[in-house]
Amino acid sequence: MAAVSLRDVRKSYTSDLQVIHGVSVEIADGEFIVILGPSGCGKSTLLRMVAGLETISGGQIDIGGRVVNELEPKDRDIAMVFQNYALYPHMTVYENMSYGLRIKGFSKEIISQRVDRAAGILELKNFLDRKPRALSGGQRQRVAMGRAIVREPQVFLFDEPLSNLDAKLRVQMRGELQSLHRRLGITSLYVTHDQVEAMTLAQRMIVMNGGRAEQIGAPLEVYAKPATVFVAGFIGSPPMNLLPRGDRILGLRPEHLEPCAAAEATLTIEVDLVEPLGGDTLVYGHETGAGAAEGRARVAVRLPAHAPAGNGRLPLRYGPAQEHWFDTASGKRIER
């Protein structure tokens, strides 16, 4: 187990094409960090730089107090789980899990001991003789994790490991990942574009956009105080409503808006879409009225399940404490 630190890490392919613009973060020993961002934001590239699969153009990465910039992946003491699992198709589960140890020259006893232990944790004991092709998606996923666990690395790297699974299995594996981390306590970096995964798994998360870390913080802190307009518009489902107000932007969470009498309304919308979800109802519309001259921003509102909602005008109010303000030019949060 080890702490990982990234100091002003940069990646450029040519002098004009820079994809990571200096990311710095200190990851504590045993911490579970999720890197979240839309596709193309550089999150996988960042992870692959930690793994050693991409060269580092600038800055410094160190794992357990050792600068690893120039080290081969095998010498970094990391293990990686790939999105498509990358299992060796011609090897059995046992061979897949033990391959790295065999190369390192561990004795047969230690290998079988470690594989047995990992197989026990992941409930793979009955599948050790099978080939990956004879396994289901969830089982393959587990073998990929098993291959990482047997190495007993200092850091786990996950590159969207759950995105090839169906929705139900994803939720289940999410839970297993969490309990695995509790049990092994190994520093983990986890890349995903799924914010639910990020919110549920992360101790801290890094929200990335366009090769920059927009915000680094605990999930609820990021949700409560998004540092930039991008984070505000990315986190939450539906995300924060962003309403232009002069040279500023007003941000309001959908659940912080409540219907009221027309006279008390601080925001009025013209409803055009109602989505009853059972537990609650999502109402979408455009802002109307005096303040809405610019752009007629789109607004989402989360209402209780049985709230009377139909097309037409919906007067809404919100408390001043629920307002988030951002600077239009820089996109940065304005603290009051």
Binding site: G52, F82, Y88
Partner: protein, 282 residues
């Protein structure tokens, strides 16, 4: 195609059977001829029922060849042919799988140029460059040697190209996983790439074995001594020039013998061969 009508089924089978008969007839005639004494072959029409001389004919060609044409023993030629076909097939596969591995998995200067150079040689048939090749082989003193017989035919653009196409379908993550597991390039090659390519290797082996076995022009040029003849050359040399009579029963026996090893290779490797051509195993 899924219709089940008796008439259609009948016509379909009739056409197929007629086709097979047409293709098989010459082979059958050769087989029959190889069992007859020379006198009965010379009668018109030639009998189409196997005779009784099979053992004598085959024993004669394997040991002594033909008395009227070349008298090189066919047994020795079969061995030559086998060595040539095996060396060519194995050589082609090992060289092309390694060069395809280099082209796909390594970044080096002029990588694309190298690939295109290999690819361009596909466009030149052996016959076009046979003169300079012969000059080189002769200057190296390799005429009438197994090296001379096989070496010029070993480089294969086709196989390199096929392996390259297959390697491109292996996901990059496998190479990356192997790197993280600590496997160096050659370890990855031997532990992952070669086992994954085994059906392709089998298919190419069959094709290349037959290619090597059936070589005619090159062995004709590069061998001048009877003990280096290959079977295919042997058949030709058994036919005496001019109006001299040929021992067709012995020549046909040699032809049948020449057909056996390629047929055996196909029969033995059929399953792998078809898999390698059809299936793209991930």
């Amino acid at each position: 195609m899924v219709e089940r009508r008796p008439v259609l089924t009948f016509v379909r089978h009739a056409v197929l059977i007629a086709g097979v008969a047409l293709v098989m007839l010459p082979v059958y005639v050769a087989l029959v001829a190889s069992t007859l004494p020379i006198a009965s072959i010379m009668t018109v029409p030639m009998p189409l029922w196997p005779g009784t001389e099979a053992l004598q004919n085959y024993a004669a060609v394997i040991a002594h060849g033909s008395a009227l044409g070349s008298s090189a023993p066919v047994g020795r030629m079969m061995v030559n042919s086998l060595i040539m076909a095996l060396v060519i097939a194995c050589g082609k596969i090992s060289i092309s799988i390694i060069s395809a591995f280099a082209i796909v998995y390594f970044r080096f200067p002029l990588r694309t140029a190298c690939f295109w150079m290999i690819f361009v040689t596909l466009m030149l048939p052996v016959e076009v460059r046979i003169l300079p090749t012969y000059q080189v082989v002769a200057s190296l003193g390799l005429v009438n040697t197994y090296t001379g017989l096989t070496l010029p035919l070993i480089a294969s653009a086709t196989a390199t190209f096929l392996f390259r196409q297959f390697f491109l379908t292996i996901p990059d993550e496998l190479a990356e996983a192997a790197r993280i597991d600590g496997a160096g390039p050659m370890r990855f090659f031997l532990d992952v790439v070669v086992p994954l390519s085994r059906t392709n290797i089998a298919a190419l082996f069959v094709i290349m074995f037959i290619f090597g076995w059936n070589q005619y022009l090159w062995p004709l040029l590069v061998t001048t001594q009877e003990n280096m003849y290959t079977t295919v050359i042997g058949i030709k040399r058994m036919i005496p020039g001019g109006d001299a009579a040929a021992e067709w029963n012995l020549i046909m026996a040699t032809a049948i013998l020449a057909m056996l090893p390629p047929a055996a290779v196909i029969l033995l490797m059929q399953k792998w061969f078809v898999k390698g051509l059809v299936e793209s195993e991930k």
